[in-house]
Symmetry: D2
């Protein structure tokens, strides 16, 4: 059976597996205070072109979002997110569980508009309401779209203007940065965001997200938050290995590029078959709309996520390519789709 | 200066003041375990026609909402409210601060539609999302509207169907129950809700809300929650006095009726002056839309709340009558409005 | 039946009752933004000899402790208290519920020793442990003892040395300040503490505690915390009335002096009867140790709290005098005790 | 340099590394719903001799303790632990951060006495205090000691008697079960505890703890808690691999036995050298007391943890052996100690 279910169905890239083996019997300092983590951080800092950035490795996305937001906000402060934002819909209320309101605004193709930030700030005027203190965006977004540099700059300016922290969720940052129409560089993020993270889990690591802290105030005592939120691994170098593997020789970019290339082939094929999209993307997430009839047949041979009912007769699904997707599997999927369509035409 | 700012600008009705004086030097048990609280509860139970209801007196609305929701929900459970709901917009994230997500749905004139509940339940399918466990509604609503018995029954059925707790915020319950078009009785609430509260603060008490618990599971250890959330007064009988004063001889209804009568006169007058309403209400909250020009003049002589900009030229305001509003002040306001209009026509 | 149960069994002093009546039909701004609160604050500031102090009125002790600590600490920070401290034993985990650990040290007669602070700071060395950030003390303490100025200065110095916030719980501050052996003035507290509160509930008010914030950082957005924690009354001037009544003409000191005088008579009488004390106090809380036999008889005619079993044959109780205790009741109690002893000797 | 620092300084046992490689390119279901996790659970259930146990894999100890306690307790409920308990001292207030008080009792050699439970229950009588609802113990304890079956049965009975949940932290369970004087079997834990966990991190896994839920009420919606607390890995099978590796062919026991054997040799050697112990242990943690002079020399060649100052002249340290400790390193340490002593005698 073919799977375009997600980008976290398989293990790790060769670089990471090799490091795991090579370092297995060495002795390391605990809790992320080891030399492998240091080395990995040095490689990332080079990418950031920022020596003052503080870097921490955490286990997963929800863990990271929860820890960052708990560290950044006072109890009465809230975070602004689009209605499709991961922290709003897919983290079992982890942010609220740490005491903070998520204020939602309507996203446009999954993206935050600067005007939406103004409106939220204007509406929250006094102590009977929460105080917006952070803007949360994802790149690529939960709908597979990406921000342009100009868009990100506009949001960054807006945040500075209102004294808001800009936090970028980079669970799928690799795919965003390697998209054909992307004009953002890693170093731009270090200049435009106050804090962001580079996702390992969805780009070829076994687990792990690298939090990059730029704003000085947020650096303070961050390890306390990691520990308190249960994100500090005793064998912290395991996380260091993931990012050393990804950044020592550029695997991070190579893997994302591969995922995007597979997505591009799939996208092109779907277009040629005349299949409409729920949203136009250039990253490794694709949202084709299938007739329910076609979908029923397709599901027998392909794993993917049902995204939302579009109307009575059709449904949008999410297909995801990964660092490990086989191009031939993309071809198989396209053949299958063509085949199913031909059968339909005949009947 | 005239004030239609709110219904909590003045002290307490005579019954309450008298009880305060009469009992001032008596000795009472602490923390709400006194005989005055018992007596007040007995009067309320009579209204509820329910001897098994458990009643607690808390200090204010946010305190009550926070305590009830903390007591009712498990950490991963969420409460559904309309987008104008008090817990969503005007409690400084108190619900989120106690760890729970408020899931919002679009309200219709401030009211929850049963279909909206279905939709939320359908969308929250697994452990990556919070689990809806409670429906929060207000009666009268934050927009001054009221639920009909049929509407409340439909919501109640929907909650039972989905296993959701129905919690009714009655901060302005008096005004709702005394509205000309109301067909709900106190005893209906005891049958249709799992938990609700009767507001004292906005209906002639110095402070205090009476929480009525119907569902057995919610009765368990509720006093622990009151204490932990800082709502247990050492001199608890002060709260008992408020509700004894309100329910011993029906002041609760008399005061609400008075507020509504004043609102009716005001509403009628505004209509005769051709002033449109943001939303049609029959309770003590009125939302007229004034031209900005008129509003500017009006604000020099009348206190009220600016509610929202309707368009470039006009603004909706909130005017509230209370248990202590003087009918002559309503007349003065109407004269003033007429006068301002005449001046405008002349110029 | 005589009652020496506590100091919150009766209503309010005449000044407060009179203000309640006189202002009952006036219109006040909501949520503590009224002129009565302002006036009350001005009187308190005069006592503090500090114009820059920020003052807020909250409803009760647990509410106040919870709100202050939530406002002062970051999630990983903890508060140090003695093992008899109110926040540790008698607030249903309200502090922990807001996310903070209470680190306990052994108290000496209910008081914190400066050395204990050193020890806690030394032991908490890294991010695997909470970080001590506040010292919580009560004056008078939960055991009725008081701090000398020298003791308070030593603790204050220790806090400054370690960068800890000093928070003094003054639920029974009146009695402490009026104790015969007290050498602390209200203005000293404003110089030695970062934040403290003046208790109204236990010194003749219906309810209410006045939080005094000295440290600038703690002043920031404090009203958000009050609201979020459910402590902001809609009719906030009711709290203002309590403190205007207490401080306009010195009722605060007069009432506490009365309670102490009654306690002094009782203490003297108990000593003459040869009854030992669990702890020596000079405030309105007394902890006599009775034989169980005597206690059994006593309990038939006197209400008081059982404090702790001392040994097989004797038990310590807590007797509390209040602003409203009748001296004749103290005499009656002493007669009764003498009488019971005589009967015993006969039999 | 020799290291007896801890048992989490090196990677994973061969079984785990092999499984990682063998399954690396296979496609797995996400979030722990995969077949490897199922297989691992089946092996563990066999050990437990309990088919109804529910098993979940989490990333680390603090994560696990926090999640279990959040899932088990209502907001006003507290957990009882000994004063050396990990949740009390070494988790940065993670339990309090999730809203719960940790009630501490004096431990005896790191162990909880049944009488201590009685005392806590007796003292917590009403809603002004938290309600004890869980007993937390560790086996082996934080001081390296173990519970006998009789001791564990006594605690288990006490918990049932008082309606308390018994939660056993098994971060070092392997070493406890393989201690020479242990008489507890894995299946006993399934009968005596309501919930416990089997530690992987400190017994040869890269990361991971296996939570075993026996009490039905605790099974309900546990995955919501894992997700909300940030403990649900997208690549959940990575955790499954750890436990499959440990339990498929008994590596769990073999590794622990090795660690204990090394500790036994070390213990025996230390005794022969006449070095006293802070506490007598039979597991992989040893707490020798060295003169400060000797310690200073020792620290130049051996890594270990300073535990506590014993008196002016001597200090207790913690030495830990692991699944990967080399016996020759133990011998080297003993030679070194002997050598240092000889030098001392000469001088």
């Amino acid at each position: 059976m073919l799977s375009f279910m997600n980008d976290y169905s398989e293990g790790a890239c060769v670089e990471i597996l090799k490091l795991l083996e090579d370092t297995n019997t060495m002795q390391h300092a605990g809790y992320g205070m080891d030399s492998i983590c240091e080395e990995a951080k040095a490689y990332i800092k080079k990418e950031l072109e920022n020596e003052l950035a503080e870097i921490h490795f955490l286990t997963g996305g929800t863990q990271t979002n929860k820890t960052v937001i708990a560290a950044a906000l006072r109890p009465y402060e809230a975070v602004i997110a689009v209605d499709t934002g991961h922290i709003h819909v897919h983290e079992t209320g982890a942010i609220e569980n740490s005491g903070h309101k998520v204020i939602t605004v309507k996203g446009v193709a999954g993206k935050m508009l600067p005007e939406a930030i103004d409106k939220v700030v204007e509406e929250h005027t006094d102590e009977h309401m929460v105080k917006p203190a952070m803007v949360y965006i994802s790149n690529s977004t939960e709908l597979g779209t990406i921000y342009t540099k100009q868009e990100l700059e506009a949001i960054s300016r807006k945040c500075k203007e209102h004294g808001l922290i800009l936090f970028l969720d980079g669970a799928r940052l690799g795919s965003a940065l390697m998209a054909c129409d992307n004009d953002i560089k890693m170093r731009d993020l270090a200049q435009l965001c106050d804090i962001f993270y580079i996702g390992g889990t969805k780009n070829g690591a076994l687990l792990g997200e690298a939090v990059i802290i730029l704003q000085d105030r947020l650096k303070e005592n961050f390890r306390y938050y990691i520990k308190q939120n249960g994100g500090m691994l005793a064998k912290g170098w395991i996380l260091g290995i993931q990012f050393l593997g990804l950044f020592q020789e550029g695997a991070f970019y190579r893997l994302a590029e591969h995922a995007n290339r597979c997505a591009d082939i799939l996208r092109k094929g779907l277009k040629e078959l005349g299949i409409p999209m729920l949203v136009e993307t250039t990253t490794n997430q694709i949202f084709p709309i299938f007739s329910n009839e076609l979908l029923e047949d397709l599901e027998k041979e392909v794993k993917m996520s049902i995204w939302e009912r579009v109307d009575r007769e059709s449904t949008a699904v999410r297909m995801v390519t990964s660092w490990n997707t086989k191009e031939e599997d993309v071809e198989k999927l396209l053949f299958l789709l063509e085949d199913l369509r031909l059968q339909k035409e005949k009947s």
